[in-house]
Structure formats: C-alpha cells, structure tokens
Symmetry: C2
Subunit: 274 residues, 2 copies
C-alpha cells in the first residue's frame, strides 16, 4: 500500500511539474552574443514560452520567424511575464525606457550595470556568468546564473526561470555582481588575451601551441585544490632578475608592458606574502 | 604457422623490451621542485636505474637514503649514463663545471637556459614543460618533455629516457625552447596571477570564487577549438570606455597597471585585426 502511495505521490508531482505549473512567458530584447544563446536555450525549454524576440535590425532575426514571433518595433511588443534585455550595457537604460511596458518584470543580463538603471517599477537582473561566442554551442546547465530583483516575488520568478536552464543559481546584489564581473574580466578576458600572447610567441617561432595545452590545464586544475596565491611559480615568483631581463628583451612594446605590470605585481605580492 | 610466428615475434619483442634492453643509469643533481618530482618518477620506473641523488644540503634528501644513494659532495658522484641537473638557472653552469664527469651526458631541465652553458663535451636538455608544486602529485604521462642534445646518439638516449615517463616528446632546439618557455610564462605564471587577482576581488566582496570556475573552464576549453584571438570577449574587446573607466576606479594601483596594460593591448590587437 505504502509503495503504491509513494508512486502516486511522485506521479502527482510530475503531473504538477509538467502540466499544472504555469509556463513562464518570456520576451528577449536584442540578439547579440547573450541574446542569441538565451533564445536558443529558452526556445528549447518546455517550461518556458518564448513569445517574441525583438531586435533593432530585423535582418538578424529573420531566420527565427518560422518558429517565434519577431519584431523590430517597440510598439509591437507582446505581453509577457519577463522581458530580458540583452543589448549592450550603454543601451540598457534607453531600451528599458522605450519598452512602454507597465507592471511587468524587466531584467537585464549585464554583469556590470546596476539594476537601478532599468526604467521600470519591477526590475531585476538575470546574469549568466559565461563567455559567449556566436555560433559556439553552450551547455547552460553548468553556467552560474546570478539573479537580483527589487521585489521578493520577482526574485522567486527569476530563480524559477534560472533553475529551468541552469543548476547553479546565485542571488547577488548589484554591488557583488559588479565586483564579480570585475573579477571575471581578469580571469576570463585577460586570461584569454594572455593565451593570445603565448599563441603569438609560439607561432612566430614555429613551436606548436598544443605543447602548452597540458600546462594550461594543470594551471587551472591546481587552483581548484589550492588558492592561486599558493600555486604561483615562475621567474617573477623567484624574483629571478636575469631571466626577467632576458625575457623582456624578446618582447614587443605592448607585450613588455603586460610582462612588467604582472611581474611587478607578483614580486610585490610575495614580498608581502612571505 | 604464420600466427604462431607472429606470436613468437611479439614475445621476443617483449622479452627484448623487458630483459634485454639495458637500463638507463641516471643521477639527479638538485632536489628542488623539478628534482623532487623527477626523482619520484624515475625511481618508480622499471627501465631506469636511479643510481644517486645529489643535493647541496644533505638534510633535504636524507629521507631518500633508505632507497637511493645520496650525497652532497661532487667528489662522490657515481658513474652513470645521464646526469640531470635540476638546480636553479643561475647555478646550472657552475654545477656542470663542478661535476668532474668525463665523456658522459650532462643535461639540464630549464626552459630558458641555453644548452651551451653546460660545461661538458656531451650535453643536452631534458625539459619537462609543467608547473611543479612540491607535495603535489604529478602525472608525468601527459607532460610534454622537450629534449635537445649536441650529439645525435645522445638525442636518441634522451628520447628513450623521456618516452619511459611521458607520452609527449618534442625535439626543440635552444632557441625554440627559450621562446616556448617565454610563452609559458604568459599562459601559466601570469594566468595564475590573474586568477589570484580575481580571487582577491571576490574574497574582498564576499563573492565565492567558485562561481567563476565554470567560466575559467570555458575560457580554456574554447581555445582548443578556436584561436585565442577569435575567442576574445569583454569591455576591452568592445572598446567599452564607460565600463573600462568604471572598473579602473575600483582597483588598487598594481591592479590598475595590469588592467591598463592588458586593456591597451586588447584594444590595439583588434584595431589591427579587423
């Protein structure tokens, strides 16, 4: 008896989940890197009703027309539960003003813009912390999504939406998000540029960049076990001036500036650290 | 008949490999990060006879005495096929002079020191391209080992030795190795320091650094599919001066220098790139 009851209970739960829970109506505004990937993941999710995609240039979203309503006019925007603005940081405020939507939740997807810049009573943030490249498939499940809202009920709504596409949801306020975005610039954007510098040096000297792959993996793996401050190695850590001077001589002016700023910072870090 | 012959042939090969191939006698000079890990991997390898470990300070290698001969005197160094000098770059030349070994192969393990600095007729390089941290176990199999020698027969010997502990062997001359080591400083040492900067910013603002882990993984994963130059994102790539100014204001002086050098370089790279 008990087992049957358990089975029934779980069946009701599934029914509830699949059929009774209301779909969340979403409209995505903007079709850049973030908008592009959000449209993909929201469209393919059964618990989300992606009602419409807006983009200033209609040509870029024409290919969506067969499956989703598209528009390039703010006057023709439908009614929805959440409007996700994915335009560039500078345009978030203006776009939220042009969206003449009353009493609906409007969120942006930016790491560095304050929630307050959204011109709406109900506002929030839905920030997927990931580096998006167009035409590169992304598995949203592992992408942390940072949410924020000025009403508790809207925070719940955003958490629900986020949990439909990702397993890592964080509630961060605008200040924390701004700081995390700043940290991300160092560990993602700047790290990628260092990869580029290394790639260039290899290419110019007929060294296959692939030799360095295991090293890159180990560099990343290490800091999951120990703090980066304890994982540092290299000429700057040893304050090995002979190598530092010799390496500086081999670099272009821009590379020298990068080398010097990082070397100085490493030397200073360990002067104080140990 | 043919199958039996094949089996016999492969049996002879195995016998040859296991019993007839002479062991390589190796002596490791120096017991720092690299020496430490090399001693571990060479000692546990059945095809290598790790005859002796030298270290200036005998206290640091006393724990090895029960299984390997140890010494802190160059006069007591044994005879061997290969002497691997793992001391710091500045001391390689002096140590190779003090090693009064005639007609044996002496190699160093440095990425940035020329082979020519070894005071010996037969010289070479045995450079494992990896970041070694003491007390952190390393799987040598995936570590690329770059070898070089001034005699063809010694190059063969080093390739054989390298292939016993790693699956990735590269023959690079001193110039290429120097350049690869330079590239490694950017993609390993400097990347780790950027991780440290990101970690610091998170800690100071009560943001768990772990939120950033999936981003770091994706940053690395991406450049295995596309060149780093095509994977760049962020405020500098967009030349988003508003975000750049706002982020600079949040940083310490040392962090600002790092931020500026990398941002300027990214802006210039994409000005010329497209």
């Amino acid at each position: 008896m008990h087992a049957i009851y358990k089975k029934l209970e779980s069946f009701i739960k599934i029914m509830n989940y699949k059929y009774l829970r209301p779909m969340i109506d979403v409209i995505v505004i903007g079709y850049g890197n973030v908008g592009n990937h959000l449209v993909d993941v929201l469209f393919s999710n059964n618990s989300v009703n992606l009602k419409q995609v807006y983009n200033r240039s209609i040509e870029k979203i024409n290919h969506l027309a067969s499956k989703i309503s598209i528009t390039n006019s703010f006057d023709k925007i439908f009614d929805a539960d959440v409007y996700i603005i994915t335009v560039s940081d500078d345009e978030i405020s203006t776009v939220s003003e042009e969206l003449s939507i009353k009493n609906k939740l409007i969120v942006h997807t930016s790491g560095s813009v304050s929630m307050e810049l959204i011109a709406s009573k109900r506002k929030g943030v839905f920030y997927p912390l990931q580096t998006f490249t167009k035409n590169k498939e992304i598995n949203f499940k592992n992408i942390p999504i940072c949410v924020e809202a000025n009403y508790e009920s809207d925070l719940v709504l955003l958490e629900k939406l986020a949990s439909l596409i990702s397993e890592n949801i964080y509630i961060l306020d605008s200040f924390q998000r701004k700081k995390m975005h700043l940290a991300a610039v160092f560990v993602n954007n700047f790290v990628n540029h260092l990869y580029h510098v290394g790639h260039t040096i290899c290419e110019e000297n007929n060294v296959p960049f692939e030799i360095l792959h295991p090293l890159l993996e180990e560099t990343l793996r290490k800091i999951k076990d120990i703090d980066p401050i304890d994982a540092q190695t290299g000429p700057a850590k040893r304050n090995d001036q002979k190598t530092i001077t010799s390496q500086l001589e081999q670099l272009s002016e821009a590379q020298q500036k990068i080398y010097t700023s990082l070397t100085d910072s490493i030397i200073n870090t360990y002067k104080n650290h140990g």
